[in-house]
C-alpha cells in the first residue's frame, strides 16, 4: 500500500509532456499572471503567510530574503539559480525543460516584489539543450510583451561550487564562477553593486503560483512546519527513478515507495553529494523536511534521495563522491585544497581494503578540523558526507580497515571501480575553466 502524497502543482500534466509547455499551454494550465494592482506589499504578505522556503538546499524563508532586498535603496537585481550542480539532482532541469514559463513567471513576480531593473537566469554550460529550451520560452514572452523587464539567460561553468550565490554574483560581475568571501551578502551588494535577490528556479516557480492563488491555497499542501509541495529526485536502487513532486512533510519511506524501492536495499544518501548516508530503516518514518530530518543529522538538501543497491559498497560510493568533491573545490582555501584530497585518499584506502596506517582514526581527526574553515561551505558538506559514510557503514569500515573488504570492493579491485560502482560521478569540468 502506497501512502505517498503526490500533488501535481509544478508538475501538472507532466505525464503527457515530452517537451516544454508553450506559453499558450502554460496560460491555459495555470491562468494568466495578473499584475499586482495593489502593489508589492500584498504579495510579500502572501509569500510570508505561505511560509515558502528556498528549494535550492538552504531552506531559507523566501519572504525574509525578498524583504531584505526590497528594503535596500535603489533598483535591485533578480537572479534565478538554475545551475543545479548537485550530480544526483535532476529536478531543476526537469522543471525548466517542461515548465519554463512557471520559472519565468516567478522571475517576473520576484522582480516586481523587489523593484528590480534587471533579471538574470543562470544555467550550466554543460546543458545547451536546456538553454535552447529556456531561450525559446523567453522569446515567446518577448513577442507577447509579457514582462516589464527582460530576462538575460547565461551559461556558466558547471563546477560544484559555481551554484553558490556568491559564485553567480562574481561571474555576473565579470569574475570567475567561484564563491567569494562575505559580507557583503548579495542582498546588500550583489550584481552591479546592487541589492540582489537570488532564488532557486523551483522556489521561483512556487512564487509564481502563490502570486496566482495565494498563501491559503499554497498551505493546503504540506504540514504546518513545511508548507506546499517540493520536487524530489529519487535514484539508485528504485524501479522508477525520476523526479517526483510530493507534499512537504511526506516521509522518506513514502517518497522511496513512490519510486518503488527495490528489495534488499538498506542505505540511502539523503540530500545529494553534499548530504549524508543513513540506514533506510532509521529514517523511513521521518518527514523528508529540514525539521523532520534534523534529529537524524540529515537535511533534504535539494530534495535528493539516492538508494544504495544491496550488492554495492557504501564505502566505495562514498570514496568516489569524496574524490569528486575534492576535485570540485574553488582552489581558494587551504583547508579545502589539502583537507578534502587527504580525506578522499583515506576513504579510498578504506574502500579498497588496503589501509596505510590507520585511515579511520586519521579521518576522525581530519573531520574535526576542516569544517567551517573555508570561504564557502563546500568543505563542510564534503566532510559531513564522508563522516556519515564511516558512521553508517561502520561495521563494514572496520572490516575494510582490517583488510577484509566486502565482495563489492573486492570485485572493484579486480575489475576496476568503474565496472562495479553505481553512483553517477560526473567527469570533472574542464580544469581551470571558471569564466
Amino acid at each position: 500500500m502506497n501512502h505517498a502524497r503526490t500533488a501535481a502543482r509544478l508538475t501538472l500534466d507532466w505525464q503527457h509532456a515530452d517537451r516544454a509547455a508553450t506559453l499558450r499551454e502554460h496560460t491555459r494550465r495555470y491562468g494568466p499572471l495578473q499584475r499586482q494592482a495593489s502593489g508589492t506589499r500584498d504579495l510579500l504578505d502572501e509569500v510570508a503567510a505561505a511560509r515558502l522556503t528556498g528549494r535550492g538546499g538552504a531552506g531559507f524563508p523566501t519572504a525574509t530574503k525578498i524583504r531584505a532586498v526590497a528594503g535596500r535603496r535603489g533598483p535591485a537585481v533578480v537572479v534565478a539559480n538554475g545551475m543545479e550542480s548537485e550530480p544526483a539532482s535532476e529536478k531543476d532541469q526537469a522543471l525548466l525543460a517542461r515548465a519554463p514559463h512557471l520559472v519565468l513567471d516567478g522571475i517576473s513576480v520576484a522582480a516586481e516584489a523587489v523593484g528590480a531593473s534587471a533579471a538574470h537566469l543562470c544555467l550550466p554550460r554543460t546543458r545547451d539543450w536546456l538553454t535552447e529550451c529556456v531561450l525559446a520560452a523567453v522569446t515567446e514572452r518577448q513577442r507577447a510583451g509579457l514582462d516589464r523587464i527582460g530576462v538575460a539567460v547565461h551559461e556558466l561553468p558547471h563546477h560544484y561550487v559555481s551554484s553558490e550565490e556568491t559564485s553567480l554574483v562574481h561571474w555576473l560581475n565579470g569574475g570567475d564562477a567561484k564563491p567569494t568571501t562575505t559580507p557583503p551578502r548579495p542582498f546588500e551588494r550583489g550584481v552591479g553593486k546592487r541589492p540582489t535577490l537570488i532564488d532557486n528556479v523551483e522556489t521561483l516557480a512556487h512564487l509564481a503560483l502563490i502570486a496566482r492563488y495565494g498563501a491559503a491555497w499554497f498551505r493546503e499542501a504540506g504540514t504546518s512546519e513545511a508548507t506546499g509541495t517540493m520536487l524530489t529526485t529519487v535514484t539508485g536502487a528504485v524501479s522508477r527513478p525520476g523526479v517526483y513532486e510530493v507534499e512537504a512533510g511526506t516521509s522518506v519511506g513514502d517518497v522511496l515507495a513512490l519510486a518503488s524501492l527495490q528489495a534488499g536495499a538498506e542505505a540511502v544518501l539523503i540530500g545529494g553529494y553534499f548530504g549524508t548516508w543513513h540506514d533506510i530503516a532509521a529514517v523511513a518514518g521521518r518527514p523528508f523536511t529540514a525539521a523532520g530530518l534534523r534529529p537524524a543529522g540529515a537535511s533534504p538538501g535539494a530534495g535528493v534521495l539516492f538508494v544504495l543497491p544491496a550488492e554495492a559498497c557504501g564505502l566505495v560510493e562514498a570514496a568516489r563522491i569524496m574524490r569528486f568533491l575534492a576535485s570540485q573545490g574553488a582552489e581558494q582555501c587551504g583547508p579545502c585544497i589539502f583537507g578534502l584530497p587527504a580525506i578522499a585518499d583515506d576513504l579510498a584506502q578504506l574502500a579498497a581494503g588496503r589501509p596505510e596506517g590507520d585511515p579511520l582514526s586519521r579521518m576522525q581527526r581530519r573531520f574535526g578540523v576542516i569544517s567551517g574553515r573555508g570561504a564557502c561551505r563546500h568543505p563542510d558538506g564534503a566532510v559531513r558526507m564522508a563522516a556519515s559514510a564511516v558512521r553508517t557503514f561502520g561495521a563494514d569500515a572496520r572490516a575494510h580497515a582490517q583488510r577484509r573488504p566486502c565482495l563489492a570492493a573486492r570485485r572493484g579491485r579486480r575489475h576496476g571501480w568503474q565496472q562495479t560502482a553505481v553512483l553517477p560521478v560526473p567527469r570533472p569540468f574542464a580544469e581551470g575553466e571558471w569564466r
Binding site: 538546499g57 524563508p61 556568491t166 559580507p183 583537507g339
Partner: protein, 92 residues
Amino acid sequence: MRATLQVDPIACTGHGLCADLLPELIELDEWGYPILADNIPPELAALARRAVNACPALALRLVRTQRKLTTRHSYQRDRSEGARRAGAEGDG
C-alpha cells in the same frame, strides 16, 4: 569592545607566522593553515594585534564579535526570526 580573531580563508596562504607569534590561540593544522581559538582573553589582546599586523597575506583580522566573516546567511539583523537561522549550503 570584545573582538575575535578571524582569518580570510581565501587570502590565507599558510605562512604560519601567526601561530609562531600567538601559539596560545592559534594552532596550525597538518597542512600549515591556522585554527583559531574562539575567544581572546584580555591579557592576550596586545599579542593578538601583533599577530594580525604581522600576517604577510593580510589574511588575519580582529573582528568585533557579532559580525562574522563567514558565508552564513545574515540577512538584515533586525528582520524576522528567520534571519537568525543560519543558512546554508547550496544556493538557497
